[in-house]
Structures are given as structure tokens and as C-alpha cells.
Subunit: 593 residues, 2 copies
């Protein structure tokens, strides 16, 4: 039976010692959350994840969701009550606008809470996760009237939300969307079409579900320039704020998937469903991107979360499983075998995962803080710098944390040998669940293209140059610091590889975009390594200075050293692949594949 | 719906142009298999895989195996008939001893056939696969009387076989085996105990199942020195060769697994089951290793097979799925979008898989040929050299082909985007099925330790030095050959890294074995890259010289170049990790994990 402990102490180290939480006290919401309050919020969220959500994870996987003949969908046993408790405790609106009933606390806390709930139960966590996306899109793009109708029940968790983009013929290429919206005469529209792969599309957790739907108004231009965003509630809102009669939207089928069985992934049929335009006509893509960027960060956290829970269970097994002897002779001669944690190859696996997890968590916190600054700061310059970082880091985090997170669940599964393959032990579920995060909200290949094709060149490379400058400044500032000795050389080498790769794109991709495409995924991972390495630098420095017991310092130092020795040299491999260019990739004729 | 085509033409290129099949005509069995006969055998096996086995793959996954209250196990619909047809066609005994009814053809053909059947249906293929292991162990270690009883029905496929090693407390560390054997007085023994994870442990395909069981004779020494091998038939053989009354062995449960649902992975209970000693008492481990080495090569082939079928389906999807436009502008302006094969990142994924598959298949054929030479040659020196290569390459192939094979199924799944996660498309099954190959027959961590701790130092490093010499000779012989230009530099650099890593172990692992343990997995992959790169060298050379259309030459040249540019630079990363040593890995205290 797998188990889970929320890493509250690790998070507090990041907030307090690494990122100076209290320096943000001038931002709205932060003053209400000094470190002791944060710690009690996170402890409470951790406890809920450990005690309520985690026990429903395996059973939810086995039971899955059930679609009834009338289109209703039942979630696995226990999901409803857990959701009711979660909403009642106010978790859904933790960082939402107080004007609509939210608590207004920092978004960073929601991101951390997302890690805990996802580690405990990824399929369940997607239900409240999608509500966050709906709240974000409506907050930024809806009219005051729409906000008044939809935000309070979403923020309280009484209503749930979804994103409806994908259609059978249309995934990445949203320009191919066919769902049609026809003006109904009363200011509303009637939507008709089919959406697929809709996470949390239909379920029994909330009294209503607010679908945000991309569709094409009759007569709109072809392609993405003709897409509009609509809010289409499952049940039509009554003037008193309750959910009224059924709308023309229904779940046609539940997809049979590799994992996240506890989340209902639906085919949604729109049959002249009543919907209202959100924002301007034909500007739907921009509004949907708001939702998607927030969602991408949420998906990045899923990669970390699955890696963390897989690590915890593999480490526990390795400490307990008695099998064989240490290479240099028995380490626990009193038992009939040593625990497999004595083996360097088992330790290598565990340290590979853990040294990633801690740096990835730092990246999540750092990036989430940028989101808070970007959305809440009163200083234009601060907001702009934070927005640059957020835009640059979002595809890196989504792509790298979910790729590595999945790989880490596979590595962790390996520690259990044959037991890792058996459902009862829970490790294979982590692998199956984690796999989706590399695919949805834009496949990781799309993240890489977003990074290389859009985020790098944006504003003359302002964001990426600022990032290079920041890492460079860290290296200079700490040159010669003995606690950072194992870190500075490899980080400098990684940054150098990243700069060379960036330069290579500048010189080779303008004339031939395929040179950027062929190296995009390697560039994303190269960027991720440098970002993770930079986080290790900051953590090693903070640990050296922390007023904590020596254990923390020694622990971070060893883990950081491991990361620098084993993970960072990969930057050279990534650079070599990037500079190989597109020649061999593009020369193979289509029919030869 | 996934599909499959057996790569017969690729195999024929390897046999004919790369490895000079006809030069082996002096070995027993090869004279009966000139190239045209081989081609028709493989085409027939390919057809059977494509038309009979592949259509049962998804249904077998969904249905799984069923254990009835009386302990009987039913395999998925269609498995029985497919097996009956396979056995009737003589495929089980393709390369077995003609003295017991086999066809005596080269083992290499069985290995190739194993790729085809596994690509088509891995779960099904494990039933005949385990028979091969039983035949191998009995052929080498059983008494003439035992051979007469068991080999004919195994070779005809009338009876099936299994390997019984693992127990709940004992996986890798066979010294912990508790199953007991008590002399029954009549020369037989009575076995009692529980075995777990027994593939094909109980099923309805054959009239009898021959279990080969590791157990401890009462009073035998502790540890592996007290293990003996027993043959324990499910039904006791009658003097006329038929299967008689039931023995005291039964299936207690079927494991719920991540994949290979169509194969019954059983808990087997031995309750004073009648068994007969195979070979000498307390020498069971050696006999089991015979089975295991053959099985490890079979598992390596599974890694390749899953990678191949995943590639084929991803490539077909990429050629057909219309979505977006090529980076440099529409490539198929007549359609409303380009097929995604136009995208360099999609091509990168496909070429990564395919350039591995072709080299891995070459490695399998090359290694299988070593097995044929080692077992069939009349020349002592040839046998010894082939046996060296076989011993050295077996852990490399098992570890590297299954690690990469699994990774490739994940990459291929990614090409399908959201569809890759949906069961109906079949890609997620490839991932789930392929995962087990990294675990069973010794986890890949164990393969790496076998390579570094046992195979490298054996006979003063004779095998590894011979391998280095062979690659070196290839590089010298072909220096300056224009067709090999993209290959020779990276291969030489890889070989240099491998030599440095080997030297580093010699200098650092004697005094501290953990230095070998901490680098073992990276060394195995470094070795694998050089071996795969060497195969590409030989294939590029053979393609340049082949009397075939230019397409073959150009195709192999491009794929080989891609491998050299993108895969080979990883050798430097592996070397960097190896020479980082065990310090950071071992310094973390056990309780800190």
C-alpha cells in the first residue's frame, strides 16, 4: 500500500531561507500570510491530502468513473465527500479575489497545495484544478455581470469548471475547430458540436459545471482568428444564483485511458446549448491562453507531485526490503540480508529523483512567486520583470517537470523490482497517472516550440537575457564560496552551453526554422537543467546560511553535489544535439518513415 | 486500432549483407537454411504474427486471464487456438534438437521469430517463450531418461514450461529461497513452498506444464550453495508419454499487473508436489543460469519488439494526422493542414526510435549468431570467442534494449498526443507491456552489476578487450571510407569513452567496489551505445556495398548519421557520471532517504 507525507518542511525552507517570503509582504494577500500562518495552512492542506485524498487514490483508480445511460457520471466512492469537505474548508478559493468570496492569499500557496493534493490523488485533484482555470479566465475576461453570476459559486466550489478546446480533428491546431455558435437573439448563443478529451467534463461533485468553450460564431473567419470563448453552464443559472434547468450539453462517453481513471475524461456533445460570449468575439484564443498558461503551471506541478510520491514510496521500500549484501560486505550482519538501500545503484536512482524533486519544487515556488508579483505588484518594473520570467519559465516547467517527473516515476517503480509492476503496490499507477502530464495542455513538443519560437525572441530576447544575467550574477557574487564549490563550475558550464545553444539558434534558425524545430526539445531540457542547477545553487547557499541544525546544511550540500555531478553534464549532450541541426532530420522522405 | 508488419526485409539485409549468413553454412542446421529458405520461414512467421497474433493483442489486454475457483486458469479468447496453430506448425521446436523432434535450425531464427511474435502480441508470446527456457535447461542438465520424458512434448508444444525462482521474501537474492524438497524414497522428492511472479504459471494452452523449480533439499547448506533444480510437472507423466494424474502444484492467485494482462502471472503453491532432481544436488543455480541467460536474450528482444511495433504505429499516425503547418510554410497546400510528419520535432522522435531499432536488431542477430557458433561450432577457438561475446553482450542487450525499448514506446505514444493516452489506440498498452522487460529476468540494475562485476573482469578482461579490438579494427580498416564519414569519428570517440570508463573502474573499483556499483548502469548504457554505434558502422558499410537499389543505401546512411549525431554524444555524459564515483552516492545516511 503506498503512502504519502506532504513535504511541508522542505517548502518552508524554500519560502523562508531561499526566496525570502517576508520580502513580499507589501503585495496584496501576503500580509495576511506571515510564515507561521503559511506553515499552518500548508500543514492543514498536507494533512487533508495525506488522510483524506491519498486513501482514495488506489480505489479511485480501480473503480474509475461510470457513465449512466442518461449521461450522468458517477465518480469513484469517496470522491464526492472529499470534494465537499475540501470546498467547505475554503480551499478552492484560497487565492481567489475576495470581492467574489475568495481568500485572496498568494497564488504561490495554491501552487504548493496543488503539489500536495496531486501527490495524494492526481485524478481527484484535477476536479478542483480545472475550477482554478475557469476562475482565472473569467476573472480576466468576463463582464461584471458574468463575474457576478459565475465567480462566487466557482470560488466557493459549489460549481465546477472545465476547458473545452479539443475536437476529434483538432488538437494542437485550434484553427481547425468546428463547433459553431449561432446568435440566439437575446444576446446569448446556441452552440453545437463535439469536444473530446474534456477532463472533469461531467461528474457528480458539484451542483453545476461551468464549461468554457472555444467555438466559431457563424460567419467568423477561418482559422484561429475566428475563435470565440463562451461560457456554457451545464445547468442554466437562475437569477437567485442557483442552478436551474439543464442546458443542451451532455457527456456522450467516458474515454478509456491509461491512467487518471478517477477523473472523468469526457466526450462532450453540444446540441444548441445556450452559451454567452466571454470577452470579444473572435478573440477567444487570447482568453483561452490565460487559462492555459495557468493550467500549464498546474500541470508542471503534477510532474513534480508524481515524482515526489513515487520517490517517497521507493525510498521506504529500499529502506525495508532485505535482499543481498552490500558490495563491500554485510552492513547489517544481524539480519539475514541488508536492506537494498546499501546498494549504490539503488541510491543512485533515489538520489536522481530526489535531487530533481527539491530543485523542481524550488522552481515551482520561484515561478509561482513571479505570478504573484506579476499580478499583484504596484511597481510597473517589478510586474514587467516578473511577467517576463513567468512567460519564459512556464513552457520550461511544463515540459521539463512533466518529462522528468514521469521518468522518475518509472525509476522509482524500478526500485521495487517485480512488486513495482503489481497494481497492489501502487507504483505502476503513479507511472500511468504521470504519463498524461506530458501530453495535455499542449504536448511537451509544443512547449518546446513555444519556448524556442515565441518566448526566446519576444521583446528582442529581453526575458532570456535577463535570466542569463541573473544566473551570471549569482555565479559572480558567490565565486569562491566554499559551500558552493561543487556547484559553481558545473552551473557555469551549463550556462555557457545554454548561451551557445541560444546563439546557434540566432545564427541558424532565422534562415531555416527547421533548425529551431529539430533542437527545440533539447533546448527546453538544456534550459531546464540550468534553471534546476541555479535553484540548487540558491538552495546550497541558503542551507549554508540557515540557522538550522547541521543536518539540513549537509543534506542539501550532498544532494546539490549529486545533481551537479550527475545531472548537469547533460547540458553538453543537449548542445551537441542542437548544433547537429535539421539536415539529417529533414532529409528522410515522408514515405520512408 | 494498432497494426503490425514484420520487418522481414530489414532482417534479410542483416543476415545477407551485414553478417554474411552463408559463411556459417558449415555449422549444424545452417546448411538446411540457405537465405531463400530463411526468407520463406521468416515471411511465414511474420504472416502468422501479423494475421493471427496481432488481432488478439488488444482483446487479450482487456480480457486478461481468469482464475477459476478450482485453480484452473483461462487465457483470453483466441489464445488457445493461436497456440494450437503455432505448435502444429512446428514453431516451438524450430531450433531444438532433432533427436527429440526439433527442427534443428539456427537459434538465430528463433530469436528473430521471437521479435515478430512479441511485436504482435507480447503477452501471448511469453507462453512459447518460457517453453524455450525449459527446453534449454533440460537439454543441458537433465538425465537421458528425463530428456526422453520431457523434451519431445515440450519441443512439439504439447506441453508448456515455466521457471520458478522468486518467492515473497526473495527476488534477486536467491540465497533466501525457502521452498523445501524432501526425498520421497523412490528417487523423487516432495516439494513444498510458495513461488510468486510465475509467468505462464497456469493456463489452458497445453495439456501439461513442466515447472522448473529452485528449492532447497532438506539439510542442504544455507544460501545459494544449497539450491537444487527440480522438474515438477503439473500432471505426472505416464509411461506412454501422456499426462497423467494431477501433481500437488496449483495456482493460488493471478497477479493484477500493469500490463501483459494476457499472460497469467501466478502465485504457485507447492504442496508436497512430486519433483525430480535435475543435474546435481545443490548445483541448481548453475542450471538455472542456463535458462536465465537464454531468457535474458529473449527479454532483450522484447525491448526491441515493443519499440518496433510502437514505432510503426506512431509513424503511420504521423503520416496521416493533419494538424498545423510546416514551420517554413504549408507543405501540402491542397489539404486543410499538413500531416504532422512535416515537423522536425515529430521526425526527431521517430528517427530516435527507428535508428535505435535497426541497430538493436543488428545486435540481436549478431549476438544470436554468437550463440549458434558457441553451441554448434566444431572449432574450439571459434566456440570460445563466441562464448566470450555472448556472455559479455547478454547483460548489455538485456539492460539497454529493454530500457531504450520502453523509452521508445513512451516516445512513440507522445506522437499521438491525446490519442496516445486512450486505450483504443493501443499505444498505451505497448508502454505498459514493455515496462516489465526492464524488471524480470534480473532487473536492469542487476544486469549492469553482472556486466561490471562479473563479465568485465572474467578471464583477465579477455572478452571486453576482444570487443574493443574488434571495434578498433573496424575503425582502422575503414578509415577514410566516404560512406562511413559521419560514423567513424563519433564511434571512435565513443570507444575512447568506453575505454576510459573501463580504465577508471580498474583503478578505482578494486579498492572500493561501490565505485563500480555507482557507475554500473551508466557503464552498461555506455557499452550499449558503442555496440549500437558499431552496428551502425557495419550496416552503413554493408549498405554502401549492397547490390540493392539506392534507396537502401541512402536510407541507412541517413539513419546512421542521425544516430551518430544524436545518440552517440551521450557516451561523454555516461563517462562523466561514472568518473564522479560513489562519494556523493554513499555519503547520504540511510535514514535520510
Amino acid at each position: 500500500m503506498p503512502s504519502y507525507r506532504a513535504p511541508v518542511a522542505d517548502v518552508m525552507f524554500l519560502l523562508k531561507d531561499v526566496f525570502g517570503w517576508e520580502r513580499h509582504a507589501n503585495l496584496p494577500g501576503f500580509a495576511d500570510a506571515p510564515l507561521d500562518v503559511v506553515e499552518s495552512i500548508l500543514s492543514e492542506g498536507g494533512r487533508f491530502s495525506e488522510e483524506v485524498l491519498q486513501p482514495l487514490n488506489r480505489t479511485g483508480d480501480r473503480e474509475g468513473c461510470t457513465r449512466h445511460d442518461d449521461g450522468r457520471v458517477t465518480t469513484p466512492a469517496g470522491f464526492r465527500q472529499a470534494y465537499a469537505d475540501y470546498a467547505a474548508a475554503g480551499w478552492v478559493g484560497l487565492s481567489s479575489d475576495p470581492a467574489h468570496g475568495g481568500q485572496g492569499l498568494p497564488y504561490t500557496l495554491s501552487a504548493i497545495l496543488n503539489e500536495f493534493t496531486t501527490s495524494a490523488n492526481m485524478a481527484w485533484s484535477m476536479y478542483p484544478g480545472l475550477i482554478q482555470g475557469a476562475i482565472a479566465a473569467l476573472t480576466l475576461h468576463a463582464s461584471p455581470e458574468q463575474k457576478a453570476i459565475y465567480l462566487p459559486p466557482l470560488i466557493s466550489g459549489r460549481w465546477a469548471g472545465t476547458m473545452n478546446l479539443t475536437e476529434p480533428q483538432c488538437g494542437t491546431d485550434l484553427g481547425l475547430i468546428r463547433t459553431r455558435a449561432v446568435p440566439a437573439g437575446d444576446g446569448a448563443y446556441r452552440l453545437s458540436g463535439q469536444k473530446i478529451f474534456i477532463s472533469s467534463g461531467e461528474h457528480d461533485l458539484a451542483e453545476n459545471i461551468v464549461h468554457l468553450v472555444l467555438a466559431r460564431i457563424e460567419g467568423a473567419p477561418e482559422g484561429v482568428a475566428g475563435l470565440s470563448l463562451f461560457v456554457v453552464p451545464k445547468r442554466l443559472p437562475e437569477p437567485d444564483g442557483t442552478a436551474g434547468p439543464a442546458n443542451g450539453v451532455s457527456c456522450g462517453a467516458i474515454e478509456q485511458k491509461m491512467g487518471i481513471h478517477g477523473n472523468s475524461t469526457c466526450v462532450m456533445n453540444y446540441d444548441a446549448a445556450k452559451g454567452w460570449l466571454v470577452g470579444e468575439a473572435n478573440k477567444g484564443l487570447r482568453a483561452m491562453f490565460t487559462m492555459m498558461n495557468e493550467a500549464r503551471l498546474g500541470v508542471a506541478v503534477q510532474g513534480l507531485a508524481m515524482s515526489e510520491v513515487a520517490y517517497q514510496n521507493a525510498a521506504a521500500y529500499a529502506r525495508e526490503r532485505l535482499q543481498g549484501r552490500a558490495l563491500a560486505g554485510a552492513r547489517h550482519a544481524d539480519r539475514n540480508a541488508d536492506p537494498i538501500i546499501v546498494h549504490p545503484d539503488v541510491r543512485r536512482i533515489l538520489l536522481t529523483i530526489r535531487s530533481f524533486n527539491e530543485a523542481a519544487r524550488a522552481l515551482v515556488v520561484w515561478t509561482a512567486l513571479q505570478a504573484d508579483v506579476a499580478h499583484r505588484s504596484g511597481e510597473d518594473a517589478d510586474r514587467a520583470a516578473a511577467d517576463d520570467r513567468l512567460g519564459l519559465l512556464t513552457p520550461v516547467l511544463k515540459g521539463v517537470l512533466t518529462d522528468r517527473g514521469f521518468e522518475n516515476t518509472v525509476l522509482a517503480q524500478q526500485v521495487l523490482g517485480g512488486h513495482g509492476y503489481i497494481a497492489e503496490w501502487g507504483m505502476e499507477q503513479f507511472v500511468r497517472d504521470a504519463r498524461i502530464a506530458m501530453i495535455y495542455e499542449g504536448t511537451n513538443g509544443i512547449q518546446a516550440l513555444d519556448l524556442v519560437g515565441r518566448k526566446l525572441p519576444k521583446d528582442g530576447g529581453r526575458a532570456v537575457l535577463a535570466f542569463f544575467g541573473e544566473v551570471e550574477a549569482f555565479l559572480k557574487e558567490n565565486a569562491g564560496a566554499p559551500d558552493l564549490a561543487p556547484c559553481l563550475g558545473p552551473l557555469a558550464a551549463g550556462l555557457d552551453d545554454l548561451r551557445k545553444a541560444t546563439m546557434w539558434f540566432m545564427q541558424n534558425a532565422m534562415a531555416r526554422p527547421d533548425n529551431a524545430g529539430a533542437g527545440a526539445t533539447d533546448y527546453m531540457h538544456l534550459f531546464g537543467l540550468v534553471a534546476l542547477g541555479y535553484m540548487w545553487g540558491r538552495m546550497m547557499k541558503a542551507a549554508a546560511n540557515a540557522a538550522e541544525p547541521d543536518g539540513l546544511r549537509a543534506g542539501k550540500h550532498l544532494l546539490g553535489r549529486f545533481f551537479m555531478e550527475r545531472a548537469m553534464p547533460e547540458t553538453a549532450l543537449r548542445l551537441a544535439r542542437i548544433t547537429a541541426g535539421a539536415d539529417a532530420v529533414m532529409a528522410v522522405p515522408e514515405e520512408a518513415f
